[in-house]
Symmetry: C2
Subunit: 147 residues, 2 copies
């Protein structure tokens, strides 16, 4: 078991995390620029986890610098969201059980169908050092949508 | 007029930018951590611009370090998105014309109603140094939603 500490995610936002959200994962590139991309994210009650492959930029970025942030908005109301800042810990997804669990949750299929032969899957586990979860929808930032 | 160069945003993603998107803006905090938050974003055909106030964290972050990235997903299909990496340039929104233009676009009202007396609005203009706009929806990252 992992001994590192992670902050807990407030229950007030568990509904956001359990509703197959599209999250936005931010990493630092070796050239010093920030990157931010959409990802599927899984939440097991403690950890936020994201899948990638070893040939992807976000893997290379995180090997170079483990700092990470993720913003998970409510599926239908971006005024509600949780932001987690911290570090990434990367493990092999050798039996592909994690990427398949994403396929089951997000796509309703047993096996993730889009990888190419030889793609090496890994699990990005996010060690939460800071958690922002506005309990009350902010009037500002962003403005509420009219619909 | 500003003399700095900015990369152009491909026309293939202008529809994403012109549909009142919720974007995800990433900045660096003085403590070294990355931050990423939802924002409204305006596109005038050349520049991406975001509003904030001087008491907000993202303003303080950008004054400290102008590096920025923004990911703008399609409103209904997060497999389509544009990511811009670069630097932020900040100007005062002294007459509040920019925040009011956001209120008009996103909320259908003339004046942005949520600021408190004394809030100082600024315009964050993003100087694009790198633009990623996958023209073909990626099979991966994130998996397509079933609905």
């Amino acid at each position: 078991m992992d001994e590192r500490e992670t902050l807990s995610i407030p229950e007030s936002v568990h509904d956001i995390l359990n509703d197959k959200p599209t999250a936005f994962l931010s990493t630092l590139r070796p050239d010093g620029r920030i990157s931010v991309n959409p990802v599927a994210v899984m939440f097991d009650g403690t950890w936020l986890r994201v899948s990638t492959t070893k040939d992807r930029r976000k893997y290379r970025n995180l090997i170079h610098d483990p700092r990470v942030a993720i913003c998970v908005p409510h599926r239908n109301n971006p005024n509600r969201y949780v932001e987690v800042r911290g570090r990434a810990e990367i493990r092999d997804d050798g039996d592909r059980s994690f990427i398949d669990s994403i396929a089951q949750a997000y796509m309703g299929v047993e096996r993730y169908p889009f990888d190419r032969p030889g793609d090496e899957r890994v699990v990005i586990r996010i060690i939460a050092e800071q958690v922002s979860a506005p309990a009350i929808p902010l009037a500002d930032d962003p403005p509420a949508r009219p619909d």
